[in-house]
């Protein structure tokens, strides 16, 4: 066997071996991975739209809206993804709102890599023993007729669309508020015009 032929043969076999292993792997793992991802999303939608049993997906001008329906198939709210830059990472927030987009039902942080122990409190605050998700919970049933604002060192007034910023993570808190405000402002018009 000539030298170059041998090189080709060996590399081919290696590639074939690799391809075979990966094909088999894919058969077993791909469905599960897809399932995991869908599960994550549908779990999240279920969380931000309490009482959701089924969900329609509507794409309007490139924005995906998830319209949740209850067991009577009545629409109970709409969820969409709000995305933007946080303090040091990209934030992806799923926002659940009523159908008129005047009130937030619930929000959920899908992705963040903020400063561990500080910015990460937007998702999970282990120092708060009673409610680790106190930050996102502030958005529960928050009226958003006007833009959300944040306050520091004082009690927020929910009726005034205020929330409390996290001490030491003002930028992350501010980012969440701004991302949500921007997404609502943009989507409200889009959604109300096209859907109703």
């Amino acid at each position: 066997m000539s030298k170059s032929l041998r090189l080709i043969v060996v590399l081919t076999f290696t590639a074939l071996f690799s391809g075979a292993v990966l094909s088999v792997l894919n058969i077993y793992t791909a469905p599960r991975i897809e399932l995991n991802q869908n599960q994550t999303l549908s779990d999240a939608i279920g969380q931000v739209l309490p009482g959701e049993k089924a969900c329609d997906v509507k794409v309007i001008d490139g924005v995906t809206f998830y319209i949740g329906r209850d067991e009577k198939n009545q629409p109970i709210g709409v969820a969409f993804l709000a995305e933007g830059d946080g303090f040091q990472s990209r934030l992806k927030i799923l926002v659940g709102m009523d159908m008129a987009l005047t009130r937030i039902l619930k929000i959920k942080i899908l992705q963040q890599a903020e400063t561990p122990g500080l910015g990460t409190k937007i998702e999970n605050d282990p120092t708060n023993k009673t409610d680790a998700a106190w930050f996102t919970n502030q958005f529960n049933d928050l009226p958003v007729a006007k833009a959300i604002s944040y306050v520091k060192n004082q009690k927020p007034v929910a009726a005034e669309s205020q929330i409390q910023a996290i001490t030491g993570a003002t930028i992350s808190s501010k980012s969440v508020v701004e991302i949500i405000n921007a997404a609502i402002a943009k989507n409200r018009e889009l959604f109300l015009k096209k859907v109703k």
């Binding site: 303090f87 040091q88 400063t115 122990g117 500080l118 520091k152 060192n153 910023a165 001490t167 030491g168 993570a169 003002t170 930028i171 501010k174």
Partner: protein, 345 residues
């Protein structure tokens, strides 16, 4: 010339040594005395590292007194804790490494005091001890001790605390309040709430902030004393503050609503303390005059960028630490031209 050198072999004569009196070749009534041999020069200016360190402590006294006035006796205890922790750490490390004791040079006292002056007045004592330990251990002794460290030890200790305990490190109390009402620093309230603090308060120090950073007046008094004694290079505070003022007003002129004015820049936060006491730390700043200008200008630009565009309200610490890292490079590229190198006839 050569003979001169052979007389005092270098290395041996670090310390003046006593030479034996010559006897054999004495032609007439030999003087039976031993004289000290050492290399020239035989007289020295009355300067001393320990003396410089003492002067820095004296220069910090007004700032410390204002700190105690505004933040109460707790501030004094904090200073004592910080100094004690820094000195003890150095003594202990020397002991463990079996090195000669170096605490008498006074640099640990300066580091401990400076560290506390940059800390919030409500910080727990044990965190001060941690900060002082890190400042001395990682900031200084790991590099080989005084003179070999790259970064300002006090700032390094503070950076460690800031990274470790971000919440206590950003919790401020109102000056002259008994039960520590939390407040925001002028920079913080500008950055997050867009409110300005009255200039007089900024200047006197009657605002929220670190123990020794609030009163521009006290710092300037001490700083001028240091400059007068020539224990700080005047070029650094001048270039640092001027750059901040110019660069800051540039943005202010572009958009006065969004960016603060230069006076606010100058007198808020830790800039004064940083400019007079941190950026002038001899060990970690350039030795050449041109280098000092570059250091100050660089730190000023970094500071304004952090304050206006960064996530943090304050950037003095990082602006100086970053420039510390550049100091060896600056030294290398700002070597003065040899006498006669540039200009001949």
């Amino acid at each position: 010339m050569e003979e001169k050198i052979q007389k005092v072999p270098a290395g041996e004569s670090q310390m003046p040594k006593v030479a034996p009196a010559k006897t054999s070749e004495s032609p007439s009534k030999p003087e039976k005395r031993a004289f000290i041999l050492s290399s020239s020069p035989h007289i020295q200016a009355e300067e001393d590292v320990a003396k410089i360190m003492r002067a820095v402590v004296y220069a910090l006294l007004p700032t410390a007194v204002f700190g105690i006035y505004f933040f109460g006796w707790r501030a004094l205890v904090m200073m004592l804790v910080g100094i004690a922790a820094a000195v003890l750490t150095e003594a202990l490390l020397n002991l463990v490494q079996k090195k000669p004791q170096t605490i008498s040079d006074g640099s640990a006292v300066v580091t401990g005091l400076l560290l506390v002056l940059t800390l919030p007045p409500s910080l727990p004592y044990w965190m001060i001890i941690v900060g002082a330990f890190v400042a001395i251990f990682i900031g200084k002794q790991l590099f080989g001790g005084l003179g070999y460290n790259i970064f300002n030890p006090a700032l390094l200790g503070r950076a460690f605390l800031q990274a470790s305990f971000p919440i206590p490190m950003t919790t401020w109390t109102m000056p002259r309040t008994i039960d520590a009402i939390t407040t925001a620093t002028p920079l913080g309230s500008f950055k997050f709430e867009k409110t300005l603090t009255p200039y007089l308060n900024l200047f006197m120090g009657n605002v929220g902030g670190c123990v020794g950073e609030t009163s521009a007046l006290a710092i300037i008094i001490g700083g001028l004393f240091l400059l007068y004694k020539k224990y700080a290079d005047w070029r650094i505070p001048v270039s640092y503050l001027t750059t901040v003022a110019i660069f800051g007003s540039l943005f202010w002129l572009i958009n006065p609503a969004k960016y603060p004015d230069p006076i606010f820049h100058l007198f808020s936060g830790g800039l004064m303390l940083g400019a007079f006491f941190m950026a002038t730390d001899m060990v970690t700043t350039p030795v050449t005059p041109k280098g000092s200008w570059i250091f100050g200008i660089g730190a000023g630009i970094i500071l304004v960028i952090i304050r206006l565009f960064g996530g943090l309200p304050e950037g003095v610490m990082y602006s100086i630490l970053l420039m510390n890292a550049f100091t060896p490079l600056i030294n290398r590229y700002t070597r003065p031209k040899f006498f006669g190198e540039a200009k001949h006839v």
